[in-house]
């Protein structure tokens, strides 16, 4: 990386990778790995304990929940998202719409409780306001393509 005068190899002018290739040699000192294997082993045991505690009954329940979520997502897409994407033909009266704010009422409501503490950066939460103002309800969909069930 350096020549006899202590200067960096000037060949990096044409190819910067020549400079950064030196990083392959930058291993941490051996003593910095102390305790690493113990942590890995503890993590393995913890994951195996969790896997064993997932009885066939609970696994079935989780599988059913995933199926239910998928069905809800399809229904929400068919009944809520698609109609919005296809405006009615000219001459067809528009359905009565409820202003977004009206659903929340005139008073400020307390925020809904946290249903799920999302740890995943790829998770998305969709909230659909459904129904007339009198019996409006929120349908909350949590979608995570990387979810590991």
């Amino acid at each position: 990386m350096r020549n006899e005068e202590g200067r960096l190899d000037p060949g990096i002018e044409s190819d910067p990778t020549r400079l950064f290739r030196a990083l392959k040699e930058a291993d941490p000192p051996e003593e910095s790995w102390a305790g690493f294997w113990l942590s890995v082993r503890a993590g393995i045991r913890e994951s195996e304990r969790k896997r064993r505690s997932l009885t066939p009954g609970r696994a079935l329940l989780l599988g059913s929940s995933a199926g239910l979520m998928a069905a809800m997502a399809v229904l929400a897409f068919v009944f809520l998202v698609r109609p919005l994407a296809h405006p009615p033909a000219p001459g067809v009266p528009l359905p009565r719409t409820v202003p977004f704010r009206a659903l929340a009422g005139t008073e400020e409501k307390a925020p809904p409780p946290i249903l799920e503490d999302l740890q995943s950066a790829s998770a998305r939460v969709y909230t659909f306001h459904v129904g007339e103002p009198a019996d409006a309800t929120d349908v909350i969909l949590i979608v995570d393509e990387k979810i590991d069930i």
Binding site: E4, P16, L23
Partner: protein, 193 residues
């Protein structure tokens, strides 16, 4: 015992064999995670997760496949996830490499270590402008020296996409070096290439 034996024994639940495998691979896993994340502590945490995930999925690894590709696909995916989560929380300043901190605390360090620390800082600053996938492609291809085909397998991308990422990363780093660190690119009389 060779790598194939260690993998086979680990697949049958032999933790001692897996420990040897971890010892053999941990430096490379750490280096890749560090260059993608730019932070040693986070890279160490990711390395732990990589080996836990490896243990959980090793049963699905088929003999004849590339173990490095399997292992580093896990490494890159976890490091990129971590990098994206961090971007969501705001940028974290990279810490000085531990090798330099330790050496300075002891009152000295070798020329080679100092130079590597310098290069590490330059890389972290310039690579921060790359996308996580460009950065991963550059690290695997240009720093770790894997073939384009291997990188394509590790990143789950077409070979042409890997080439494009590496090319874009190289251009960005080159431009950054010339603009921000001209002392590394200026050719001086008396220098040996």
């Amino acid at each position: 015992m060779d790598e194939g034996d260690l993998i086979r024994r680990s697949q049958t639940g032999d933790l001692q064999a897996f420990e040897i495998l971890v010892r053999e691979k941990r430096n490379q896993v750490f280096r890749i995670a560090r260059q993608i994340l730019g932070d040693e502590e986070e890279a160490k945490d990711i390395a732990q997760l990589v080996f836990i995930r490896l243990w959980q999925t090793l049963g699905r690894f088929r003999e004849g496949g590339s173990f490095n590709a399997w292992l580093h696909r896990i490494t890159v995916n976890l490091a990129i996830d971590c990098s994206r989560r961090r971007q969501g929380r705001g940028r974290v300043e990279a810490r000085e490499p531990a090798v330099l901190e330790g050496a300075r605390a002891e009152g000295g360090t070798s020329e080679a270590e100092m130079a590597r620390g310098e290069v590490q800082r330059v890389f972290q600053e310039l690579a921060a402008r790359l996308s996580p996938r460009q950065r991963a492609a550059f690290v695997l291809r240009e720093i770790e020296g894997f073939s384009t085909e291997e990188v394509s397998e590790m990143l789950g991308m077409r070979i042409s996409t890997v080439r494009n990422h590496v090319h874009a990363a190289r251009q960005s780093l080159q431009e950054g070096l010339r603009r921000l660190f001209p002392e590394y690119t200026r050719r001086r009389s008396g220098d040996v290439s």
